[in-house]
Symmetry: C2
């Protein structure tokens, strides 16, 4: 246990300071001071070795990504990142690994303004659980539950990159050298759309982040909102790295079924469409309208005006 307590040295006094943190690591609890008239958004994600990541993932990428996936949950609510706890379980104390992991974690934490306020380090099979706290003006959070018939459906950025990136990493696909680094980085270093999410407050009717793939994640939104959707697959924003590397049908499969892009899927009422497009353009966020909310409870995919049946090429998403 003594040796194990050394792990804490990699995380103590490394965090950014925030004025709303009254007491950080080192006591039985941390103490934070929430802002007036804000709600606290809380989310928790666990990454388990051999389930959510391969043992050969660069530790720096794992540290970054462990936080990024949690930040993405805050982004989809339109919340501002604030504080996090880290529960880190490791089979052994490897200083090199810890140096790299903590470096990736704190890079993301600094960039997004998150203070590490506590946690637990334990010996066991490698896994990481981060619980993140953000703040959002009460009543202004985006949820999965507000989409209405007729609302327009958008996604940020491009989708399918991360899944193809993983296939490249695993040696299942070979791509042109000019796309290699981009795709690998999109898998290892996804960009949580924190500013985009904040720009959507008061404009979007609902939002969700894309962790399991558009075809799967949109169903959560439709269920909570009690609506259906039609998606025009020709409109899906797919990077040239993907379209240059695989066939059109394969690209659509990556875009629809590939997970871990951590882009936002959101809906906008017709009346807010102009304001939203202005707000996102001002925030410098790429966004694409891909479909529309309908009545019913299912997702209809169309291409060139015809029903699109995904020919699922046996694509496997790791998680």
């Amino acid at each position: 246990m003594k040796e194990f307590q050394l792990i804490e040295n990699f995380f103590t006094n490394r965090s950014i300071s925030r004025r709303d943190v009254e007491l950080s690591i080192g006591d039985d609890c941390a103490l934070v001071q929430p802002a007036l008239n804000k709600s606290i958004a809380i989310s928790c994600d666990t990454l388990v070795e051999n389930v959510h990541f391969y043992p050969d993932i660069p530790p720096q990428a794992l540290g970054y990504k462990s936080l990024a996936v949690n930040l993405s949950d805050l982004a989809s609510m339109g919340a501002e990142p604030a504080w996090m706890t880290l529960a880190l379980t490791l089979p052994d104390v490897n200083e090199q690994w810890l140096t790299e992991f903590s470096s990736g974690l704190f890079d993301a934490a600094e960039y997004y303004g998150v203070a590490l306020i506590g946690g637990d380090t334990t010996r066991g099979p490698r896994s990481i659980t981060i619980t993140i706290n953000g703040q959002v003006s009460t009543g202004k959070a985006l949820t999965r539950g507000g989409a209405k018939n007729g609302d327009w459906i958008y996604v940020t950025g491009t989708i399918g990159d991360s899944a193809l990136g993983l296939d490249v990493i695993r040696g299942k696909r070979h791509v042109d050298p000019e796309h290699h680094e981009y795709l690998v980085n999109r898998h290892y270093y996804p960009t949580p759309r924190v500013l985009a999410g904040q720009s959507l407050r008061g404009l979007a009717s609902s939002a969700i982040d894309l962790s399991d793939g558009l075809a799967s994640d949109i169903k959560h939104m439709l269920k909570r909102s009690q609506v259906g959707a039609v998606i025009d697959v020709n409109r899906l924003p797919i990077s040239s790295a993907v379209t240059d590397s695989v066939s059109k049908d394969e690209a659509l499969n990556y875009a629809l079924m590939g997970g871990e892009d951590y882009e936002l899927l959101f809906t906008v009422p017709e009346a807010q469409k102009g304001a939203l497009e202005t707000a996102l353009a001002n925030a410098g966020v790429q966004f694409t309208q891909v479909g529309q909310i309908t009545t019913g409870d299912s997702v209809k995919l169309i291409r060139d005006g015809e029903r699109f049946i995904s020919n699922n090429l046996g694509f496997e998403h790791f998680s």
Copy 2:
């Protein structure tokens, strides 16, 4: 993965309602509304199978204890329990196990008024990470850092029960049948001293919960407070279940070195001694004065006026 999502059925819609929970399980984040002029106390503990608990622990006890150890951290700050997230990693989906585990967890959650607002269920080696949130009036939280030379040192309840209980469970000790259930329950179902902690606000100068054993935990307090301590081992509150079952020296070893009692150790300035004793008596909490804060930075154990050298009988604490 489909099968695994069934786990969520054991936890969704089972939580108590709290008016300050705006949005619970089912979206990307939960939303809670902190009370005015309160700080939020946050703590996080991981329990890993074969490290913090044996595979044969009754699942109900594991569920209860996973929350209790986190509540104990809130107790030592004088905070009121509010919300928690649960990250549960399991090797398989066992309905009987989940029924019992969730029953123990929700028993504790209901009793202490904690709402389960989110979490993550993943496949992997069994472990439980709970991040708990409590509230405490800003500036009123107890910490490890306020003990001053001359303050009196107290502990709640009795200490050493849990460690002897574990030895009984593991078959290393045999005790009289009249004490068996008490000791086992003290190990499996520790009582977090939540009300006692709240009663200490404004009266105690520092507090910590006893998770690793008095001799070890007091050092954290002394370090943060930059003081020393003298403990009269004859004063340590030891239950008749322990004194009836082992020799006097062994009993002292359990009390000093045995972990997982989750009692509170706290310090009180002379001027507050009377008020504190009244407050705790009104709260129905047993408490015992066991020593005094000194200058310096070490713990001195005395017995009958002589320096007490623990003859550490090879006692092993599981965690």
